[in-house]
Symmetry: C2
Subunit: 585 residues, 2 copies
Amino acid sequence: MRSHFCGLIDESLIGQTVTLCGWADVARNMGGLVFIDLRDHEGIVQIVAEPSDVAGNAEVLAVAAQIGYEDALCVTGIVRKRESVNNKIRTGQVEVVATKIEVVNKAEPLPFHHHENPGEDVRLKYRYLDLRAPEMQRKMRTRTKLVATLRRYLDERGFQDIETPILTKATPEGARDFLVPARMHPGEFYALPQSPQLFKQILMMAGFDRYYQIARCFRDEALRADRQLEFTQLDMEFAWVDEKIVQDTVEEMIREVFKEVIDVELVNPFPRMTYAEAMRRYGSDKPDLRIALELVDVAELVKGSEFKVFTDAANDADGRVVALRIPGGASLSRKQIDEYAAHAAKYGAKGLAYVKLDEAGAINSPIAKFFAEDAFQALLAAIGLKNGDIAFFGAGAYNKVSDFMGALRLKAGKDFGLIAAGWAPLWVTDFPMFEWDEEEQRYVALHHPFTAPAVDSIDDLRANAKAAVSRGYDMVLNGNEIGGGSIRIHSSKMQSAVFELLGIDAEEAQAKFGFLLDALKYGAPPHGGIAFGIDRIAALMAGSESIRDVIAFPKTTGAQCLMTGAPSEVPDKQLAEVHVRVRKE
Amino acid sequence: MRSHFCGLIDESLIGQTVTLCGWADVARNMGGLVFIDLRDHEGIVQIVAEPSDVAGNAEVLAVAAQIGYEDALCVTGIVRKRESVNNKIRTGQVEVVATKIEVVNKAEPLPFHHHENPGEDVRLKYRYLDLRAPEMQRKMRTRTKLVATLRRYLDERGFQDIETPILTKATPEGARDFLVPARMHPGEFYALPQSPQLFKQILMMAGFDRYYQIARCFRDEALRADRQLEFTQLDMEFAWVDEKIVQDTVEEMIREVFKEVIDVELVNPFPRMTYAEAMRRYGSDKPDLRIALELVDVAELVKGSEFKVFTDAANDADGRVVALRIPGGASLSRKQIDEYAAHAAKYGAKGLAYVKLDEAGAINSPIAKFFAEDAFQALLAAIGLKNGDIAFFGAGAYNKVSDFMGALRLKAGKDFGLIAAGWAPLWVTDFPMFEWDEEEQRYVALHHPFTAPAVDSIDDLRANAKAAVSRGYDMVLNGNEIGGGSIRIHSSKMQSAVFELLGIDAEEAQAKFGFLLDALKYGAPPHGGIAFGIDRIAALMAGSESIRDVIAFPKTTGAQCLMTGAPSEVPDKQLAEVHVRVRKE
């Protein structure tokens, strides 16, 4: 239908006749002429309909005068040099003088135009109009390019793209499963996979050597700010490997892909940090290294104080007392400090002690009175507090204090413009094997129950489960966990022992994971892998805050598709066919 | 862990030390030596553990003597020229003399070895053992290569890979939906997509220009012999096109991909045939052109007979009388002819008339008596019956006769070895827009309700719906419909008219497809596309009868995964969370 794309018309075409197809971005009448910005996925070019003595122009002008926003047009015309150059667009040196304009599909009055922002709900309802915006097209193209580049990289290196089932077995470990009633098996259900974890491990046991899949995964969780019910991961698994091979391979891949897709050179090699170090220095297992702030442990310096909150934590083996210095933070008002306290409270803080040193060096701190003068000065010196700074303190259980102080660090980084430009990747390693779940009074797996422990002996693991370190690793970028993986257990006996430590008895293990325990018995090779969050990486590359910008048809935090109206009621007849009925509480 | 792959060891490595990882395919003791066939995904190499005076060999031999089927091993050794060359394997010129054998994971006694075929149920239960077979590895690699090649082809040509939702809206058109209860919306359900049809059309309206996706699709249908609940299609859509652009583009793609993946040159261009011609000549809308047999219409020649079955059909405007000549078919016994009649009956035949001409030219036919001698001879001449042939006759309603005679043609082709070697692709075009559904007493769409009619005028379509031809097209290969597509309706008014003709009233249309009808109003471009069945194409390329051979974890015809045990019962607590209960009839 067309000879060229709108956005690619340039001076090399001057004098030529072209046919273009696209949408009327803007149409305006000026001095008897009509100017139309014609837009396709490549960009915009200016069309002119002008009155002249040449036969036929009157007709073109009459059509052009009726053009409205988003009419679908096919335009034939002659490319010429533009009088008033527009340097904002690629085609700004030229314009097309129309000899024929066909209105292929006249648009009715629009609910909104993508030049406006009518709010996300309206944008999602009319997603097809929203996606026409050049900025949205750019973001979606970034995602496409990311995925294509990853695939090419892996295809060239012998990784085999293998699809695993979407209709699979319910495995109540981890997040909540989506269930699908099985019509042919009354009372039974398939589940949608939370990840292809077990299938990819089975593939290694099935003799495949290097696997990948851009896999859709499903988690029926409360939708926090930027989560989706379904999401996409680059899922990878390697046979006959240790963690070094996996990490080196995928680090190189990520570096190449950033270079190719957005022309960014990531540091080589990525910094590495243990989980313990990350928690200690940054209060996070996914530290944003673009923020130079670090936590300072001060337990030893507060033991002599009379502030019970501090002394209790300082004298508890599982406690922590820590300070976060914010340069220039003395400017915070009482109200702003309260906001920091409220933010910390969301992560479990019960209060938030602080010390301000104003520009003149005067101390303002509700806790100074609990310290001897010289002890307090020693504390401030240890923190490195300077005139104009503030320091916040956290005291209590180690993990909780780390969490809320880590959260304050991020907030301070943002509020005070302390986030350096650029990209800060790193590896976090040596995660604890287990976490103690207070509510359920049992261990839970920090990665997942298939992660190998660093020790080979089952007895050693049992004897020291609390301190056991796993062979898991995360790739972190700018404070986001973009990839997580591990070397897996490849011994059936070790897998059973880990299930047992997680409170899954032999019968339950057999019912849920029997096929895995079986498969491990028949010569399972050592194996490991990783999974990357494609939505998040694409959003980072596209410079988007929200992953919804790089998903064509996302759902709302209310788990709805505003365009199609999913989910929806279905006739009872359809439910009867799959042997369920709606439950009314 | 390894220096080389087992299957790639060759004479260039003679004298070198290599480390290999893999599985013991076979181990045998011979004359004080132990030979192990070590297998990885690349193939097999022979390992030798030999006694000699060199220190340490005794230890290697002791380990080797204990090796069993499918033990996971890492072997270090020196490559040397093999005494008894084995030309059946790529590495057959060499062997590796082991200096170290590590049993990484000892296999327990196996339920079966892939050298045996214990039946598909056992193979599927222990799929990880089944997939280790070199033949299964080869088939799965063919699929991987097919998909990678398609993607690269499309990426290079500016097609954008865009993911569409798996959790979407129930649309009761077509096959039965899988339903997913929505936890956050009590009493409501998501549905799994039968295809991304509407999403890809919406993408064109959203300003994307060329789309593709290797998409998982779901149909809750009775599993006929070679169907799966979930299947994979290459889904494509083009904006601003007519059928020629779509067909030329994808025909070229398929030709290139066959060349690259399995080194087959498909004819250029593909033959083209209308639906009417395909039904007339082959009794099928997906004719297998490798079989030279054609149906011969004989209504005019039987009108004068006294065989009422023939004369009724011959005098009915919607009737058909047709013959199928099978060269050499006179050898069929009475019992075999009954089998043909039974086969035809499956497709709706009520009986099966025939005429045999034996090698001596004697006629054997139950219907000869209804004909005058010369009329019968004229009939046989028209059919081209020769000594040694048989001809079957079909008479009745046009479509039914075509169906069962088409089925007989395929059976005869197979039984008599009349399927030519090679590949026979073609396009089938000009499908009817609608089919009359006797049961529901309404029109149904032959492709789907979004397919554009060949006429532009709504009035013309309404006036002549029965004879209306659509802009749909199928790509057929060796009797399989491997791709189906169409130019779509891009006018909201035409779409509403088609819904109406299909018996979907305005209210229902708005409830189910309101977002499509809306989107068509805001400048929808002309668009069209196609979808290819990846599982089937991969099976054809791999030389497999069953698509299950090119799916890593297929379900049985009973809709079960024998490995994981899906589907399964789930605790009532989990059902309560998603607001459903099991319905007991």
